[in-house]
Amino acid sequence: MNAPVYNFAYLDEQTKRMIRRAILKAIAIPGYQVPFASREMPMPYGWGTGGVQVTAAIVGPDDILKVIDQGSDDTTNAVSIRKFFARTAGVRTTTSTGDATVIQTRHRIPETPLHAGQILVYQVPIPEPLRFLAPRETETRRMHALSEYGLMHVKLYEDIARHGHIATTYAYPVKVDSRYVMDPSPIPKFDNPKMNDSPALQLFGAGREKRIYAIPPHTSVVSLDFEDHPFERYRHEATCAICGAVDSFLDEVVTDDSGGRMFVCSDTDYCATQGPHEVKRV
């Protein structure tokens, strides 16, 4: 720890207590967005200030922290947040999904199944799944209170009318414990099934929008769909060019200006643990 002018994990204790109380209520009401007094953080909104505040409120000296950005441990956002906690909390960090006790994530759920005792902290840009359907906060709050989610089904139906299938590919809305419709943050819908009945605790923090919500372990999380248009995961029909994985979520990487491309695992830790594989161009 070489930033002694700050409190442990940067935030002051009163802020941590406020966030902790919001987290407890969020766990007690799965999928409901608890308002909280989000603070200014030493990084801009959109860089994960909500996730950082949640992590700062829960993390302790015994924790092992992993931070991923779109599945990757080594992008700017992931590296800077990991360093932030290494410096302000002196907490051990890792890139291994299995070893981590707290995993802060932007837009992915790790491929390696999570286990009991782990906490997954999501960075959330827009927590309100109904926001683009009803811009007024008082209106969306009322809709949640009354479980009035017809509009969301209309939106999904319009996808079908226009494209022939549900074209929503990320931030795909889910219903938590048969009650609240929730935005899972912009994870690909490939990851949606991993939220259901997960042994890990899932916490969501939206800094700019000042909301915290949660999914307790072993809670039902159902992606919204229709009987004749059931929810489907989407994955590029390819193997990872680095590790050869056929089951992971893939990023498409353009390699030249003549149509060359390759697919690689978005989860770098998973990719690295799959063993080497001859790089192939598809």
Binding site: R17, R21, A26, A28, I29
Partner: protein, 198 residues
């Protein structure tokens, strides 16, 4: 003076964090027993565990209601000194309720239950119990529980199953219960249902 007040956390930062993690685990896994280190001593009859939970969660923003067994000047003074929390006599106005005598706990509906727009604005009730391994035993189901979960606590409020069922029926409103025994906590959030005696 120290004797009169009782001590706060010896290490406020790390003790609040470890106590909070016990509470979060208890609430995320309803009915499970989570160990709490002895890090604070409140005035009698507030147990060290209940004292630690209170210190980790309450402050000037959270009015606290004390039941008759805990409503002493010593405990109110200790809470005010260490946390700054206002003490309220009105259970319908408190964010946290500390109950030292669960057998005579008031009806849960007398506390803040939240509203359908803001169900989070409800009381968290901390019941100080003698044991989480003795007394009537129940089977729980609900979010956080894989299948079913065993839960025991003693003493409990009378008509406990009816109270919990009534609280469940208010969802998404309702109170959340924390149980503090000697050195451990358990919790029943509003989503946990008692599906039978076991």
């Amino acid at each position: 003076m120290t004797q009169l007040l009782g001590t706060g956390f010896t290490n406020p930062v790390l003790s609040s964090q470890s106590t909070f993690r016990a509470v979060i685990d208890a609430l995320a896994l309803p009915g499970s027993i989570q160990p709490v280190a002895r890090t604070a001593t409140g005035p009698d009859p507030l147990s060290p565990c209940a004292a630690a939970v209170a210190l980790s969660l309450v402050d000037q923003d959270t009015p606290v209601w004390l039941d008759q067994s805990l409503a002493s000047d010593a405990i109110a003074g200790w809470l005010r000194f260490h946390t700054g929390a206002p003490i309220t006599a009105d259970p319908a106005n408190c964010a946290f309720a500390l109950i030292g005598d669960p057998a005579n706990a008031p009806a849960f509906a007398r506390f803040q239950l939240g509203t359908s727009d803001y169900p989070d604005r409800s009381t968290t009730i901390l019941l100080q119990v003698d044991s989480l391994t003795a007394g009537p035993s129940w089977t729980l189901a609900g979010p956080g529980i894989r299948g079913t979960q065993h839960f025991q606590a003693s003493p409990l409020p009378p008509n406990f199953a009816e109270r919990i069922a009534a609280n469940n029926a208010l969802f998404p409103c309702g109170v959340d219960l924390l149980f503090a025994a000697d050195d451990c906590v358990a919790a029943l959030p509003r989503t946990s249902r008692l599906i039978g005696a076991s």
